[in-house]
Structures are given as structure tokens and as C-alpha cells.
Amino acid sequence: MKEIIIPTIVLGLAGLAFSILLALLSKKLKVEENPQVRKILELLPGLNCGACGFSGCRAYAEAATKERSTFSGCLPAGEEVNKKIAEALDLTGCVSSSAKVVICHCSAKSKEKKASSKYIGPNDCRSANISSGVIDCAYGCLALGDCINVCPTNALELKDQAIQVDFKKCIGCGKCLKACPRNLFELVPIKNNLPVYNIACANKETALAVKKVCSKGCTGCTLCTRVENSPYQMKDNLSTLDYNKPNDPTSLEQGRSKCPTKCIIKIS
């Protein structure tokens, strides 16, 4: 009987001692967490995308409570949540960001962009951009997926060497803008589920140079700018769109159908 009782008592007492110690210390060493921080954390989407400029949602919530400011607001959360965050901080009338998505200014597929040399080296765009051997075009997508690696919501996808953006998943955090060594991405506003027109080329060379390296590039033929009330404008041998202005859908569509290389694409 003694063999059972003594170890039971010793182990029980040791466990009890440690648990009492832990309970006492947890009360004594309790760190008060600001209830406001917790409230903001619950409102935030919790993606930790870092688009606000802080390391994550918690860091943003703590900084917002401390400085009593929403800073640039939470990009992926949308207008309503940002309003609620401002209310939680007793800051009303704060401006918040509207929904934005990202588009990629190169949609040439593997057969369309020419590659006269083979690239052997680290498997990322940043390194490949230095040697520029993956494709002949000095402006186009290298298709090694640096942007896919940084995307927090898996909205980007490589399909036959061309980047495709899933607007349903894209939160407009803009991480791919920084990741792409060729600056192919642009943040554009998306409204009422209207389709977004994307000039899927970034090559600023003249028609002959573009034709040499890619069959889908913008040659700067200016056909799209010649339709009625055309929203398209020429800049550096390249057609551009001003996304901050509301553009007429019919003229947008007309310009698109005029493009001889089909490099203006409609994404809905």
C-alpha cells in the first residue's frame, strides 16, 4: 500500500504546487490588453497582408489604437469595415480606400513571346531580370512567379506563361507591384462589377522592335485612339487608359475590337 500512496502524494503535491504557482503568477504578471485593440482585430480580415505598412493585422491594430489614427486604412477590408474601425477609435469622417484590383500589363503566352536564348540560374524573376535571357522582350512577363509567391490570397495564376488575376480573390494589397522587377502590375479601381479593360503590353519600343520579340505586343498603331470619344491615349508608343476617370463602355469596347494584335483584353 505504501508503494502507491507515497508516489501519489509526491506527484500530486508537486502538480498542485506548480499549478498554484502558475495561477498566482498568471494573476500577478497579467498584461492588460487594450480592449480597443481586440475590437479592431476582430473587425480586420486577419490576412496579415501588410498592405497598410505594418507587419500584420495585430501590429496595425496596436499602432492604430496608440496613435489614434487609421493611417491609410485596411485595403482588403473594404469601405464598410474601415468605417467601423474608425468608429471603434472614435474617429468619424475618416476616408477609407475603395476596392481595387491588380492587372498585369503583359498577357503574352509562351508561343507569342519569343525566346532566343535559354535562361539557367536562380528560379525567380528578380535574378532573371538582371540577365534578361528568359524572353527577348525587355518589358514583358518573365513568368517565374515572384508575384505568385508574395500574393497572400492566391489570386494570381500562371497559365501558359501568362499571369491571370482572379478578381474575386484579389484584395488589392499591391504586394505584387513591389515584387515584379518589370513593374507590370497596376492597381485599378473596380466598380459595380464592370469589366476592366487592360492594355496587356508594356513594351515602349517602336512597332518593328515590338514585332520582333512578341506577336501580341502593342505596336503603337494608334487605331484604338481613333474611335469616337476614345478613352485610349498614346504615350511612349503605348496605348494607355486613365482608370481614375469613368470611361464610356461602348468606346472602350470599340477600341478593343480595333486592336490588330489583340493586346487590349477585357477582364470581367
Binding site: I6, V10, A14, G15, S19, L22
Partner: protein, 193 residues
């Protein structure tokens, strides 16, 4: 004094807990991706290991030996380590929030680090005195950090190398670990008695 130095060097290099006893392999492979986090993990393990071996020594020699309950060492040591990690975490959180932010995520991982339980059990089987046990715990933790840092350094460099597809990821990490273990075998003749 000579004994203490011998224990220090032998646990740091020759009988390294990770590379010759293969304890704590999980954090060794898991947290060795970046030098920064490897350093944090190493420091946290050193801290907890030193405390855990010394407190385990006290409990073992003052309580368990007295009642003849040697077989309870596993349960009691786990109890000590788990509560110690909790207490350390609370203390750090209260008094140094910057240290908590850099160590915080690694502390719960340490509870299940078998190198710490291993060091407490070795301390018993080798009949160390109290001071020897403290030095053993400290040098064991330092040895763990050393190996973790070496591994993290190698793995950071490996990211810039074009590795053949079959070796990518876990397989190359395991091969690196085994080569490191082989290299550490070279220390085995360092101290001759």
C-alpha cells in the same frame, strides 16, 4: 574547475545533444530556415535548458531520492519543464515586451523539445553535482544554438543555388544535417582522458 570546463567543451562540441544524440531534431529542422529565428530559438532553448536542469536537479536530489521514487523522474521532469516554460513566458511578457515579441512564438515550442528533457535525464544518469548540472544545461543549450545557427547559415546560402529537383526541400536539409553530424564526429578525439 577543470571538470566544469571539460563538461562545457564536451557537451558543446563532442557530445552535442543534436548531432551526436539526435535530440531536438524537430526544431533543428523546423526553425533553421532563417538565421534570425534560429538565433531566437537558440537563446530561448539555452535559457530554459539551464533553468530546467538546475531545478530538475534540485527536485530529483531533494525530493525523489529521499523517498526512493527514481521511476517518477520522467513525469516530474516534464512537469517542471512545462511549468517553467509557462512561467518564463509570463515573466518575459510582463517585463520585456520586445524580447517577448522576438522569443514569444518559440517558447511554447520548447515545451515539447526533447533535448531539454534529454539533458535533464542525462544529468541524472551521469550523477552530476549541482554546479556541474547547471554548466551541463547551459552548454547543452549553447551547443543546440551553435548547431542551429550553422544549419540556418547553410540553408540561407542554399537558397541561391540551383539545386537538382530530386534534392530540393526536405531531402537536401536532411543530407545537410547528416553531413554536419559527420563533421561533428571529428571532435570526438578532442579530449583524451
Amino acid at each position: 574547475m577543470k571538470d566544469l570546463i571539460l563538461i562545457f567543451i564536451s557537451t558543446l562540441l563532442i557530445n552535442n545533444l543534436v548531432l551526436s544524440y539526435f535530440l531536438g531534431i524537430c526544431p533543428f529542422l523546423g526553425v533553421s530556415g532563417k538565421i534570425e529565428s534560429a538565433f531566437g530559438m537558440g537563446m530561448a532553448v539555452t535559457f530554459v535548458m539551464t533553468l530546467a536542469t538546475s531545478i530538475s536537479w534540485l527536485i530529483y536530489n531533494l525530493i525523489l531520492v529521499k523517498f526512493g521514487l527514481f521511476y517518477l523522474e520522467y513525469v516530474v521532469f516534464i512537469l517542471v519543464i512545462a511549468s517553467l516554460v509557462q512561467i518564463v513566458e509570463m515573466f518575459i511578457r510582463k517585463y520585456s515586451s520586445s524580447l517577448y515579441q522576438s522569443l514569444g512564438i518559440y517558447l511554447p515550442l520548447i515545451t515539447t523539445n526533447c533535448a531539454i528533457l534529454g539533458s535533464a535525464l542525462f544529468m541524472v544518469t551521469r550523477n552530476y553535482k549541482f554546479l556541474e548540472a547547471v554548466v551541463f544545461g547551459f552548454s547543452g543549450g549553447l551547443g543546440f544554438s551553435l548547431v542551429l545557427l550553422i544549419m540556418a547559415g547553410i540553408r540561407e546560402e542554399l537558397q541561391y543555388v540551383n539545386v537538382p529537383k530530386v534534392f530540393r526541400g526536405a531531402s537536401l536539409t536532411l543530407i545537410t544535417a547528416s553531413l554536419l553530424a559527420l563533421i561533428f564526429m571529428g571532435f570526438s578525439g578532442l579530449i583524451s582522458s
